[in-house]
Symmetry: C2
Subunit: 417 residues, 2 copies
Amino acid sequence: MTLLTSWIESANSADTDFPLNNLPYGVFSTDTLEPRCGVAIGDMVLDMAAIEAEDLILLHFDPVFDVPYWNDVMDLGPEAWATLRSRLIELLSTDSPDQAKVALHLIPMADVRLHMPIVVSEYTDFYAGRHHATNVGTMFRGAENALPPNWLHMPIGYNGRASTVVVSGTDIHRPNGQIKPADADRPYFGPSERLDIELELGAIVGTSTDLGDTPSVAQADEMIFGYVLLNDWSARDIQAWEYQPLGPFQAKAFATSISPWIVTKAALEPFRTSTPEREVDLLPYLAEPKPMLYDINLSVILQPDGGEQQVIARTNYNTMYYSAPQQLAHHASSGCAMNAGDLLGSGTISGAQKDARGSLLELSWGGAEPITLNDGTTRSFVHDGDTMILSGHAAGDGYRIGFGACAGTILPAKPTA
Amino acid sequence: MTLLTSWIESANSADTDFPLNNLPYGVFSTDTLEPRCGVAIGDMVLDMAAIEAEDLILLHFDPVFDVPYWNDVMDLGPEAWATLRSRLIELLSTDSPDQAKVALHLIPMADVRLHMPIVVSEYTDFYAGRHHATNVGTMFRGAENALPPNWLHMPIGYNGRASTVVVSGTDIHRPNGQIKPADADRPYFGPSERLDIELELGAIVGTSTDLGDTPSVAQADEMIFGYVLLNDWSARDIQAWEYQPLGPFQAKAFATSISPWIVTKAALEPFRTSTPEREVDLLPYLAEPKPMLYDINLSVILQPDGGEQQVIARTNYNTMYYSAPQQLAHHASSGCAMNAGDLLGSGTISGAQKDARGSLLELSWGGAEPITLNDGTTRSFVHDGDTMILSGHAAGDGYRIGFGACAGTILPAKPTA
């Protein structure tokens, strides 16, 4: 596919994240406008509530865009999602007859504040990157036992905490928690000293299933509304002490950041790619009828307090072993009801190369090999004042489908009582 | 405390679950009334929406009882909860001047259907029963390694799935899932053959905290709205294969049943009792300023299809090592935001004796010692058609604070594709 041209000039640039081919969905406010649904186009945001109020788009007899979340649109289902996208393309294409009316409701991106794009129903995080699982497993259990016995048979996942999913730009206090140094008899309670990021893609479930329903992988793919970048902040020292036998809990509960723009499945369609050949055959309920991953370039950027941004890792979502539809089908395989607004983290996306690792735990090999920044300082884990930024885009022919940034700055831990 | 007498005769019986001292909160409907808030009193249900509509109770300028959940009442906070309880006691006491008006809105319990009493925000399950953790640890890791090293230092918990918390009386299909027999090379996908229950108490969080807040144990106690019985259905074979390294997932996601009546903290106040003496001192953030457990008699009842109910275990909530306020304080210790409607499972409540174990896994010692029922059949795990019932009450002086039943019938697994 090539660039779809728009009458909004900035959307036709080869290096904008938001050409007409993309049209990602977010929630924005300004000094005068309450938070509401918006669509990114070039360096502008389209006020969907205003467009709807003027009947330029009609999805439902009740308004669905004058609210600070896209859940109402999701509830309308995939046919309505397709109608919305084609209508937006009509309105914003070079030959749109409605250019004058629409132009009144474009707001410069620089003038808006971005908010959480959805109300997160529940958050589940997976562990579906083979390089990541192998790296972490090697550090924790040795190279022979790196992958758990179940890993090649199912997308391992665990329930995370939805209440602390925050939008890019939200500052995050370093968490306190129980930490037990290897040479200590007992744990202490204090600030994490091994604060990490996890580079992930988040899939947003757009339609619901009932208790007992078990969608196929193909049906699961149809249920997905879109994708965001996701940083699954992780306190490795808290995690190491707490995670046996029931999994990560407070080590992950303090914050999960997502990028503000939901990139739709429709925008990503030209970039579908397959999961890798299987070492062991998957059970039939996990079979993929077509390519379910996407070719999305990803990078991790670190910006020290007052310093410059520096890329510390580059990888691609096409390296994952399990796709989001496989994860969703597995998630519902017991009959677990899924809801619109459920957020599924892909698991950390690490490539085969050392500089393609999606966590500092891997990049610094557990702190044994700190990375050196351009300013001469080193990092094993995140320092107070560091801003961690995830970035991603799919590269089309003369255009890119960008995700925008998923950024978060770490503030010092709050004092303990 | 002794029995508070009511003009509703059935509430004055020594063996009703719902004397005036109790006043638990639920959601009910009838053939003519949509689901709404109700209060159990003796063998009647008080229609709170009607009582509110007639200005017999005024908690807020907007109605809060004409909805199918108690979340709006929770949002009003502990002072409103106290006002509500004292007003209900006034209206229902023997000497109430409003008896005639109130009597119009009492509906026989036998004529109502009960629904989920709250919208569950998120569900977290703990592992805070020492006998249970020791029993399970002994079976899985041997007696020397029964308790994980962290167990005596923190209430171990994991995030569960809120979307499948269901009210007592909801039938549950036996889940399908990945199962790997010990002697097989590979897993298969099929019905769980080791379907179990877990006898738990559920604490309902009634007030919210913001990201970064870290309530003390005393503050956490004030945040709790009330308690329900909770059956954390568990597919042990699915769990055994999936739970390493990130904890239980589909083994627990297919259903969690709760009793329909929220027994308030106020009703349980006379039954406070302490957690046991600590083998190792807890960190200060987990210190309890006063007794935080309750003396609640609990039993597990099994009813085979078409057969009679039989008690298969009796225990008490006072055997727990960690209280719900300790669990909540730990849950928020990283700064994790908590919300009204969060549900915290206590963990399986097992006593020291063999017949005081709160799961079939423990009662049958992993299937090695099946229990024999009165009808001559045996059980290692739950059979299709079995109804599993949890029951509980605190025993006062001439009255009881009952929880009603938490029941669920297991239907055969749905066929797999």
